[in-house]
Symmetry: C2
Subunit: 163 residues, 2 copies
């Protein structure tokens, strides 16, 4: 907290006037990434159209939010449930993942997603692929703009060349 | 170390007769998962055949090793480089990932992997998808046997239904 108040250019007691402590800071950071992710689900292309098209749109936007809010999303994905705030964030993450899984099921039911892979597994692999980006993505490197579309292509059509 | 010696049913001093300390235990656990992964690269189907077929074989085997050695692979993927042993493990992980990336490049060069996604990005997404399994996979649940093939299908052919 001392480092942070110094970085903000104010005294430690002024700093505590604004935030109650580490737990509140953690919650604010986690909220930032969760709000960014949940906002996607309310966007027009996420709420209307064929399930598979909504899914594709959400995956693209998820990568964009991850790129724009990298430190916050990384934090969210590292949280293991050690405090009340962490458990709250895990619960919200699970509810986001459940929304994606539901959409994969709908798309599978409509014959838009392959039938030979369990939709629950497909949903987990899909989320896992998107989330794994925080492990290596760094802003400003070449190819950053192409990443959302690269992920969409890879996840939906696979890495194989089409004949 | 006290908990471990109790679990092993020997005194703490007998325990220290076998291992020098936590760092050695960590190294042994990391070695177990790294040895399992690197052994795949020497298997016959990983060393001969079309690059894309070798890649497919390696991905399937990687999932199998992850399932068989779940706690060890999970540990490996959580290591962040805080000690000498962790940095050694990270270096070995990078060299495994580099072997996969090289194979993706070869397969792309041979026209077997799609040309519209950067092979380096495709390789990272591929490894990220496989590694993400440790976040949710638990042995013994239904579908465990189908998982390696589910992952291969999803990664290589994508989640979309084919017309």
């Amino acid at each position: 907290m001392e480092d942070l108040s110094r970085a903000a250019g104010i005294t430690k007691s002024s700093f505590y006037h604004h935030v109650s402590g580490k737990e509140e800071l953690l919650r604010a950071a986690l909220e930032r990434s969760l709000d960014g992710l949940f906002a996607i689900l309310d966007e027009r292309h996420a709420t209307s159209g064929r399930p598979v098209d909504r899914l594709r749109y959400i995956v693209r936007r998820q990568v964009e939010v991850l790129q724009a809010e990298l430190p916050y999303v990384t934090l969210l994905l590292r949280v293991r449930g050690n405090t009340e705030t962490e458990r709250w964030a895990l619960e919200r993450r699970r509810s986001f993942d459940a929304a994606i899984a539901e959409l994969v099921r709908e798309a599978a039911g409509a014959g838009q997603v392959r039938a030979d892979v369990d939709p629950a597994v497909a949903a987990k692999l899909l989320s896992g692929t998107v989330n794994s980006i925080v492990e290596w993505y760094r802003p400003g490197r070449p190819g950053a703009d192409a990443l959302p579309e690269d992920v969409v292509r890879t996840v939906f059509e696979g890495v194989l060349a089409r004949d």
